[in-house]
Amino acid sequence: MSDRVTVSKTYKLYLGGAFPRSESGRTYPVADSKGRFLANAAQASRKDLREAVVAARGAFGKWSGATAYNRGQVLYRVAELLEGRREQFAEEVAAGEGVPARRAQALVDAAVDRWVWYAGWTDKIATVLGAANPVAGPYFSFSVPEPTGVVGVLAPQRSSLLGLVSVLAPVLAVGATAVVVSSQDRPLPAITLSEVLATSDVPGGVVNLLTGHTAELAPWLAAHADVNALDLTGAPGELRTDLEKAAAGTVKRVLRAPSAEPDWTERPDIKRLRALVETKTVWHPTGV
């Protein structure tokens, strides 16, 4: 018997819970670290990006309104399903990032563990970042962290899975929704991750994932009036100032990024959670 011809996957966008091609009909070739062709990825357009923002806004009410316990379970479910597809992710990470198989496996394992870490955070954020305010008067006053809204994420360019998970999971943990532009040259693990998201009870529209040219999509994301926060982690260095300026047009919260991509294997902290929440203070008089 000759070797069986494999069924290769068409990599598409993840938008509003569905997997469409780019409305523009464009694709671009994705190569491995040695320049060998891996697949054609969809090259998202400005219109795809705007559709993604609409989907993320539409999903915000339900996701932000879900109980923290529920969100924690959903994030844990993502970890479970990711764990079940370790081999596939390790192959994609190894091919795209050019790392040895053992290293790729370690990166995937760390990505699984990152989901678990953030899954455990969902119902502790309010305890840690909220407060009962001892105001000087006959009032009951408390402050709670709430998700900022729709977050535009320019995913890390180098770390195609662990980096992506490290910036995406905190968005979901706080109850915000995301429009993610994946790593431009290493987009395949992102699309495979969206297949995991689609089957792990993350409601459609909570995560929208676009592959394509970061420099083409980022300015529209930065300027979009229905995006509340912008994560510049994967933004091209020469565009960062302009993107921050565009974000100022609607007073977006901007997560600035260090010029060199961080070591994503380091233990995370709560900075990202803090950056993605708004503190709401509520007052009510006391009395009989």
Binding site: V135, S141, N228, T241, E244, V251, T281
Partner: protein
């Protein structure tokens, strides 16, 4: 005895208490010095008389102040044990309280706000802010930002004219507690109390350069926030200017917090205690002449009680006494400047043009000074400018709703998100609304409450960052 006409006898606070001086100078590196900018004249908006001449900063002065702040940060303040910093800040709190009456009268003169508000809100809350933050200075390890959180360095701060002393306190107190040094620019029309605060800071013997106060107009503010020696910028003011600052700071790495405009919804349900709600509505929009970023400027009333509520509201608003800010019986004082009066007049005219139904209090207004009679617009629709734009004056826009969902949709239909009010006797409904209102502060069955322990700040285009509480420290720490 005449029981019909209860005229108030005038009860003016003495202007002499303000210790008004003919001229004021900027405060740099521990000393009051002449600025090289064009001096400005601070005007009493209640009489249009010049109160004092105030020296302003040139760009060289800004540079000098920032360098003084840097030296103070590197050599003294940034290295000082928190417990020592705390005692300096406690001193400031005490000295504000000791000079409360003087500060209140001066604030009323310079700003136009009623003396009772300056006396009962602005000055005591300013003292409270210093007292609260003083205590944090040696307890930052417990604030939840990790062990030994470090200051950012030099903070450039620009504040508005509506609460001149209080805004200075909101800015300076947390900055100092966290170990930063400060260059602060008060508003062009209200520089006087900040310069008396500088005197207090000098008397409290803070090391030179820890706090620098530079009067001037917007150009001085721009010079300050763009100065390369500034590590952190804090701005309170209009959304328009906030966007300019955020854009100007792009790519600089400076930490920024913005407290900007608002168009708060004050929502009254049919089961609300109406008399209480009326008081809250009046406080929400006529407090400080409506010069409040979190003012309850959009009243959303449940349709079934709209007529009754509006009648009660008119009757109550008609009793508000508009006039001499120094009179202890005055409820609504002077509009801060001619420019602001023009803006209010223009927006009110747009309301009439667009078909809203205007009602204005028949109260008498003084012949001189900048005044605007309390005004309520009924039949306002969401597309009108008076429902969308911040008026920053004693003008209320009334809209109606039928269901909680509709109230919520209308309340959230704004790019702003600073505050909101809810009036209902039903506790579960309050919490349901509070959960869903996209605003940084929600007042339920009350309005316009402020406290240094309670974080304050906006969602969306009302800005980012918080002032007050544990959350407010983040703005001044390198975390």
């Amino acid at each position: 005895m005449d029981l019909v006409n209860w005229e108030y006898a005038p009860a003016p606070e003495s202007r002499a208490i303000a210790n008004l001086k003919p001229s004021y100078r900027m405060f740099v590196d521990g000393e009051f010095v002449e600025g090289a900018g064009e001096p400005l004249k601070s005007v009493n908006p209640a009489t249009e008389e010049v109160l004092a001449e105030v020296s302003t900063a040139s760009s060289a002065d800004v540079d000098r102040a920032v360098k003084a702040a840097r030296r103070a940060h590197d050599k003294t303040w940034g290295r000082m044990p928190g417990a020592e910093r705390a005692k300096y800040i406690f001193r400031i709190a005490r000295m504000i309280a000791e000079r409360a009456r003087e500060l209140a009268v001066l604030e009323s003169l310079d700003n136009g706000k009623p003396i009772k508000e300056a006396r009962d809100t602005d000055v005591p809350t300013a003292a409270a802010h210093f007292f609260y933050h003083a205590g944090w200075a040696d307890k930052l390890d417990y604030a939840g930002y990790g062990p030994d959180p470090r200051p950012l360095g030099v903070a450039g701060q620009v504040i508005p004219w509506n609460f001149p002393l209080l805004m200075a306190a909101w800015k300076i107190a947390p900055a100092l507690a966290c170990g930063n040094t400060v260059v602060l620019k008060p508003a062009e029309t209200t520089p006087l109390t900040a310069l008396v605060l500088a005197e207090i800071i000098q008397q409290a013997e803070l090391p030179p350069g820890v706090v620098n106060i530079l009067p001037g107009a917007g150009d001085v503010g721009a010079e300050l926030v763009n100065h390369a020696g500034v590590d952190k910028v804090a701005f309170t003011g209009s959304t328009e200017v906030g966007k300019i600052i955020q854009s100007a700071l792009a790519g600089t790495g400076k930490k920024l917090t913005l407290e900007l405009g608002g168009k708060a919804a004050n929502i009254v349900f049919d089961d609300a205690p109406l008399d209480q709600a009326v008081e809250g509505i009046v406080n929400g929009i006529f407090f400080n002449q409506g010069h409040v970023c979190c003012a309850g400027s959009r009243l959303l009333v449940q349709e079934s009680i709209a007529e009754e509520l509006l009648a009660k509201l008119h009757a109550r608003v008609a009793t508000l006494r508009v006039g001499d800010p120094l009179d202890k019986n005055t409820d609504v004082g002077a509009i801060n400047s001619r420019e602001q009066l023009t803006k209010i007049t223009e927006l009110v005219a747009s309301g009439e043009r667009e078909g809203a139904e205007r009602w204005t209090s028949p109260c008498p207004l003084p012949d001189k000074g900048f005044y605007f009679a309390p005004t309520v617009f009924a039949n306002v629709t969401q597309s009108m400018r008076i429902a969308r734009e911040e008026i920053f004056g004693p003008v209320l826009s009334v809209l109606t709703f039928r269901t909680p969902d509709e109230a919520l949709a209308k309340a959230n239909n704004t790019p702003y998100g600073l505050s909101a009010g809810v009036w209902t006797e039903k506790g579960s409904r309050i919490l349901w609304m509070a959960d869903r209102l996209r605003a940084g502060v929600v007042w339920a069955n009350t309005f316009n409450r402020f406290d240094p322990t309670a974080p304050f700040g906006g969602y969306q285009e009302s800005g980012f960052g918080r002032e007050g509480g544990r959350a407010g420290l983040e703005a001044y720490l390198d975390v």
